[in-house]
Symmetry: C2
Subunit: 212 residues, 2 copies
């Protein structure tokens, strides 16, 4: 199995705070994400500033695009993003038009979606999905379980590159051992750690151990 990527999500309220967080870990993680909160606060500058800092790294714009896919994708690609997220309730035309204007889009799974929906995304040429525990659901006490793991496995088996996110800590990674997860996304587990670089490296070490 291939070692999954490690992605840091920057969900800061200001660009300055995001820059401060990312310089500590940007060279340790594989992918840098301009989070939704950050983009809604700072706009495309959130993406273009990360691109300026990391000319050769994979950068994701977590726009959770629901409409006007072509326009948003062109704007994010222009700002320097490699990939961009679309919300799962976006229509297929929205996803297709986004997919034409940026290298790849990733479908973010929130709320109700079905295997039929997922097949329709595959048929539309979409290669990536993000399996999500909602931050607000986590705050209200929901956690990772077999139900999640079975859905992740189903998506991997269907042929998607699957990113996994939501309240992940190093000790939770072992839950996914044996599954071809493409990327694990961590936010505050890295950026709010006492030593963020050490925390990011601990994620990487555990990924190497579990996916040798």
């Amino acid at each position: 199995m291939v070692k999954p990527n490690l992605q840091v999500a920057l969900d800061n309220n200001t660009l300055e705070s995001a820059l401060s967080d990312v310089v500590a870990v940007g060279n340790i993680v594989d992918i840098v994400e301009a989070g939704t909160i950050l983009i809604l606060q700072e706009g495309k500058k959130a993406v273009s500033s990360l691109r300026a800092l990391y000319p050769h790294k994979l950068i994701i714009a977590d726009t959770k695009c629901a409409d006007a896919g072509g326009t948003v994708a062109k704007n994010m690609a222009d700002a320097g993003a490699n990939w961009m997220t679309c919300i799962c309730s976006a229509t297929i035309p929205t996803m297709k038009s986004a997919n034409q204007k940026i290298d790849q889009i990733q479908v973010e799974l929130y709320g109700d979606w079905t295997r039929e929906n997922a097949q329709a995304w595959l048929d539309a040429g979409i290669k990536q999905v993000i399996y999500h525990q909602s931050r607000d659901a986590l705050l209200s006490g929901v956690s990772w379980g077999d139900k999640d793991l079975n859905k992740v496995k189903m998506l991997v088996d269907m042929g998607f590159k699957v990113s996994v996110t939501g309240g992940l800590s190093v000790d939770k990674l072992a839950l996914f051992q044996g599954v071809n997860v493409y990327t694990f996304i961590a936010g505050r587990a890295i950026t709010q750690a006492d030593d963020p670089a050490k925390a990011a490296q601990a994620f990487q070490d555990e990924l190497t151990r579990l996916w040798p």
Copy 2:
């Protein structure tokens, strides 16, 4: 019946272009919307600039929030928005936490949703929904029909304040006569008209005629 509101959606790629569009019609419309495209490009400045121009007008941040509802709502309220949109696939905890940090949230209806979902939003204290024809669906040839009208009526009957949007022109308003629509949202039908002020006034005149 009460005359529906007229809302102008600013889906510009730059703040300057949005400002240029809004000054022509801001005093004619009832509600000004910072569109998703604009917020993703310019961040909270999109909202705070509109608030600076129109201290007493209803301003909506079309964030299509899918997660971290409390944070996004607080940020948008701080920037000067009265109301904010959440995507229908957001979880109930996300919608509830958003609803606590801003005056009202509006649920944007994209993709599949059910009457049971809508009842759960009502039960969570949400008063507004936005019935949407996706821009990309419209581009691919879909238009307004009885199916839409029946869903709008159902939502009104359930007790929601219902906004309606997506490819609306003045001549389409008559389709909704007799229905208690709360707000009609128009974007380019106003801002891209030869005479935007005249176009906005034509919408208002037709609303007055149809909902006397």
